[in-house]
Amino acid sequence: MAKVIIPTPLRKFTNNTASIDANGGTIKESIISVADQFPELKKHIFEDGGEIRKFIRIYVGDEDINVLDKENTKVSSDSVISIIPAIAGGIS
């Protein structure tokens, strides 16, 4: 099973779970299998039309899926999928 790493800002939608096993042969199937387990997560990752939101990047291993096959990028059982959100943090 591919592993999906959930970034801190989205962990409140996954009961603070940092890493979730995903089913599916592609990025889209994997993310959806995780989002199905945590419906709140789904609306923070996908637009209403089903596209991945622009302020979130999805990586498989160290590569951006946008330079691979986008949401149809193939994943294997040992793939690590990262969801990378923009964070502004720092505080003053």
């Binding site: 302020f55 946008n66 923009a86 943090g89």
Partner: protein
């Protein structure tokens, strides 16, 4: 360049740099000739400024508009108790001058804006971005792209940090990674989300190291890569960042509040909602009027201080609409008034409420004006 000379005191101070074979006096000379602007003197700016000053960067710009607050001291190690209430740039300058008198410190006691950014940044070789909000992130990025300056970037949230080097030798920049900011309210700011105090120390130090590498010309800067650190799991990842052919060319600075305030439906962030002051709320309380008070913060914030309001966190407000009264005045509050405005706006739009009032300034205003014994955070 070779004419840059060092005094005996400087040579002795920097000796641990000078004896590194690949750094040596050439690297030190490059540092001395360099001008770096540090935007933000907070959690990231503290280690950045301390290390860049200690290392002997010749000219360091210190930019911030804020004053030192008690709640800064948990992570902003640049400041002391005596600095509370003073302008951050002044406190920083005093501390840094004491650390290294050979460095030229330039103070910019201002907010970075679309009007002043190009004029300020043009005088520097490099910018280190230690800001805390999306509008300034995009502003710093765009100004650096227009002026052709490298932008050493770091960002933190709770236990997680990101570091990268943008716009270095025509490499990718922030918009290549994140073309648009998240809609307001989706990712909480640090003031709402919190941050573990040591994290900016770790991440800001990595940022300082990238600055020193670029200035001295050693090593491989983190350009085209994004470093991630999770302080809870101690997992680190380094991901590739590519130039995005779809990123529009940046020709001029724009209104970044507007850019970041628009959510994906094109709705404005700062929609007008009805307001009530803390003094008016106090009168309502004292007169035993019939009203409902709702707190849309998180439970852990409620535990720090509260107004004995009904707690319905913003994330669940629409799902708990049956708890919101429609037959009397409802006052909604949060920490500073931003989240409660969002809650009201959502409730008005989706359910047509017309009896909701935002507590202006939130519980912070209450602590300032009504109950000064209340803890602020």
């Amino acid at each position: 360049m070779n004419s840059t000379s060092f005094s005996k005191a400087e040579l002795e101070r920097y000796s641990r740099h000078l004896i590194i074979p690949e750094f040596n006096i050439k690297g030190q000379r490059r540092l001395k000739n360099a001008k770096v602007l540090v935007v933000g003197t907070g959690g990231l700016g503290s280690p950045l400024l301390l290390y860049l000053t200690a290392a002997g960067v010749g000219t360091i710009g210190i930019l911030d508009f804020d004053v030192v607050d008690d709640s800064n001291l948990q992570r902003q190690v640049l400041f002391s108790v005596d600095d509370v209430g003073k302008p951050k740039v002044e406190a920083a300058q005093k501390r840094l001058k004491g650390l290294n008198p050979h460095v030229n410190l330039v103070v910019h006691n201002t907010m970075l804006t679309s009007e002043n950014a190009l004029d300020i940044i043009k005088d520097y070789d490099l910018v280190a971005d230690g800001t805390d909000n999306f509008p300034t992130r995009y502003l710093v990025n765009d100004a650096c792209v227009i002026l052709g300056k490298p932008n050493v970037y770091a960002s933190i949230f709770r236990f997680e940090g990101q570091v990268s080097v943008f716009n270095y030798k025509n490499g990718p920049h922030y918009r290549d990674l994140f073309p648009t900011p998240p809609p307001p309210g989706l990712v909480p700011s640090c003031a709402e989300g919190g941050v573990i105090g040591v994290l900016p120390g770790i991440i800001g130090s990595l940022q300082a190291n990238e600055v020193l590498k670029i200035l001295s010309g050693i090593g491989e800067p983190l350009s085209g890569r994004l470093f991630l650190f999770d302080a809870l799991t101690f997992e680190t990842r380094t991901l590739k960042v590519h130039k995005n052919p779809e990123t529009p060319e940046i020709k001029e600075l724009i209104d970044y509040d507007h850019f970041c305030g628009l959510n994906l439906n094109g709705e404005s962030k700062d929609e007008e909602v009805k307001e009530i002051t803390v003094e008016e709320l106090k009168s309502l309380k004292d007169s035993n009027s019939d009203y409902q008070l709702i707190d849309v913060r998180e439970e852990y914030e409620y535990e720090i201080c509260n107004l004995e309001a009904e707690l319905i966190p913003l994330g669940g407000i629409l799902d708990n609409v049956e708890k919101v009264a429609s037959d009397k005045k409802v006052i909604v509050h949060c920490r500073s008034g931003a989240r409660s405005a969002t809650a009201i706006s959502q409730l008005e739009k989706k359910f047509g409420f017309d009896n909701l009032y935002n507590l202006r300034g939130g519980i912070l205003a209450w602590a300032d004006s009504i109950d000064t014994s209340m803890a602020k955070y």
